[in-house]
Amino acid sequence: MSSASLQSHLVFKLVTAALAVAGSVVLLIALTRLIPGDPATVILGSRATPETVAALNARIGLDKPLQMQVLTFFSRLIVGDLGQDVFNDRPVLQLVAAALPNTVALAISAMLLAIAIGVPLALISAHRPGGRIDRLIAFVSVGFISTPSFVVSVFLLMIFSVKLGWFPVLGAGERGDTLDQLWHLVLPTLALAAGWVGYIARLLRSSLLEVLSESHIRTLRAYGVSEAKILIKYTLKPAILPTIAVLGMGFGELLGGAVFAEVIFNRPGLGSLIYDSIRTRNYPVVQGGVFVIVLLYVLTNLVAELSQTLTDPRERSRLARKSEP
């Protein structure tokens, strides 16, 4: 790694990411074959007859060896075919594509909210470390981090929708009515963001404290630069670096956690799609849905890692230098 130029660094990262995705595909397909009993029979349930079983096997490719299945998956993937829904023959890709925007919207708003609240909390904590407010924020942060998001979702639903009636109980809002959709987003976003507020507050706080102890901050103080400027301009930027990678990983976790929010608030989305498909044993959809999530997870991790590297001027120079002959 240390002899990588900017381009080969990128390529290396992409390749490892691709391998991870490929590996997960193999895992997913292997899983399908591991279903106890005969997968096709399990899927079809009461409708299983020798003919339907054979037909399904042929369609999903369950009668072929693992390698063939993997290859078929990838060859179909290239043309954008993720398989067909077991029951209605709709293309999985279509189902996933319809559901995905909802989930992404939820994940993004949760992340933004978490940043909007978490960053100021971290700044306040780092300003007077060890003080009463700092300890309070620390305790509350751990609380937020460890509390399961679905518990928060149920509580929010209970208090704000059922008891107080302020927010709608289910759905994602009327199509085309952005305000309504935003209104429907509020509670699920809060529920998902809670954990991340705590995480960001703590991670950023320790990062800030570390930067604050470095000599260059002392230089600024010696010249009378205001504490506020020091904190917000000169400390925040170096301190945010390590958190970017974590946030990237967090986005992926958010995509996963969205399952609960979507089920509880009855929102359409990739999470509820996967959940419903699991219950109906619609395996191709499960496979396709999980694959897309894994893809997004790996990609966001990759982007986060790369942006962390590229925002540090020292790293930029190091990589640029190595690419010179």
Binding site: S215, H216, I217, T219, L220, A222, V225, K229, D312
Partner: protein, 324 residues
């Protein structure tokens, strides 16, 4: 306008710990005259840097600073957080020890050079400050100052970075420039360049300097007078030539003996001089002379605090021994 820019009498600094208190500076007197340069010399732990930090109020929160009387620029001052904070980046500027870490790696040199001027020139625009910075950067000997302003610290060599740090200090046009071990972290060739720059500054501007160093050599080159410190106490003070050629206090003599004379013929049989013993525990200061435990000329009287003896104008030392 009095001759003295800075005058501090009887400075005491202590750090409060959980169980004990370390008395770092004990009754230090310091005078810096306008346009003159004073050197603070002593080994590590002598408290010389503490004085510098105390002047700017940069000591840790658990430090207590007391002084009988202190004036800066003809105004009485208290050395408390508010007063010292107002001096930072305006009347007093400081150059820190390690140029490699003194600058923020994520911001360009230009950005930082502009921001440190804001205290001093609050009404100027960024453009004006940028241009000033560029000019001063060129002054201290940085080639292609205009281009370098857009570069990051890691793109500069150690010597260059120290020049940038010196430029910072010059930009705020201070009355007093404090340099804390300005050459310690640099190698010999760079050290020579930095000394050059500081020399030039002395000649061109009227700035007073306080140079903190463990190197007598550096102080001899740059300073008019020297204050020798040991374990937070001033043991000898006077014009640099005087103290160097005629050291009176046993510690000063020992310190000078430790420096190797590069021009003396090499004698392989001679051991390097050292001062036997250890620096005293500052949580438990002895009553008498602070150096007594390690002093080769120790006498019974040394259990009591020694008087200040005068050798010549301005050359004092604190010892029971008569002029020898």
């Amino acid at each position: 306008m009095t001759e003295a820019l800075l005058s501090i009498e009887n400075l005491h600094v202590a750090y409060r710990g959980t169980r004990s208190s370390a008395h770092i500076l004990d009754g230090v007197n310091l005078t810096i005259n306008r346009g003159k340069s004073v050197g603070l010399v002593g080994e590590s732990g002598s408290g010389k840097s503490t004085i510098a930090y105390a002047l700017l109020g940069l000591l840790a929160d658990n430090a207590t600073v007391e002084t009988s009387h202190a004036t800066f620029d003809d105004k009485a001052m208290r050395l408390d957080p508010e007063e010292t904070a107002s001096l930072r980046g305006t009347d007093i500027a400081m150059i820190f020890q390690d140029p490699m870490t003194a600058l923020n790696p994520m911001f360009t040199i230009g950005e930082q050079l502009v921001d440190i001027q804001r205290r001093r020139f609050p009404k100027s625009s960024k453009r004006q400050l940028w241009q000033r910075a560029e000019a001063v950067l060129a002054d201290v000997g940085v080639q292609d100052a205009a281009g370098r302003m857009h570069r990051y610290p890691h793109e500069f060599s150690g010597g260059m970075r120290q020049r940038v740090v010196i430029a910072m200090a010059l930009l705020v046009e201070p009355k007093l420039l404090i340099a804390d071990e300005p050459t310690t972290a640099l190698d010999a060739t760079i050290e020579a360049q930095v000394v050059e720059v500081l020399h030039e500054m002395r000649q061109r501007t009227k700035v007073s300097m306080l140079i903190v160093s463990h190197s007598m050599g550096l102080i001899a080159e740059l300073c008019d007078s020297v204050v020798v410190m040991y374990a937070g106490t001033v043991v000898e003070t006077g014009p640099v030539r005087e103290v160097l050629h005629n050291p009176r206090h046993p510690y000063t003599q020992a310190l000078l003996a430790c420096e190797i004379d590069p021009y003396a013929p090499f004698d392989a049989t001679q051991d390097l001089s050292t001062i036997p013993g250890n620096v005293p525990d500052l949580t438990n200061r002895p009553d008498g002379c602070i150096f007594a435990a390690r002093c080769p000329s120790r006498q019974v009287q040394c259990h009591q605090k020694p008087p200040q003896r005068e050798v010549d104008h301005g050359h004092y030392y604190a010892c029971w021994r008569e002029a020898a």
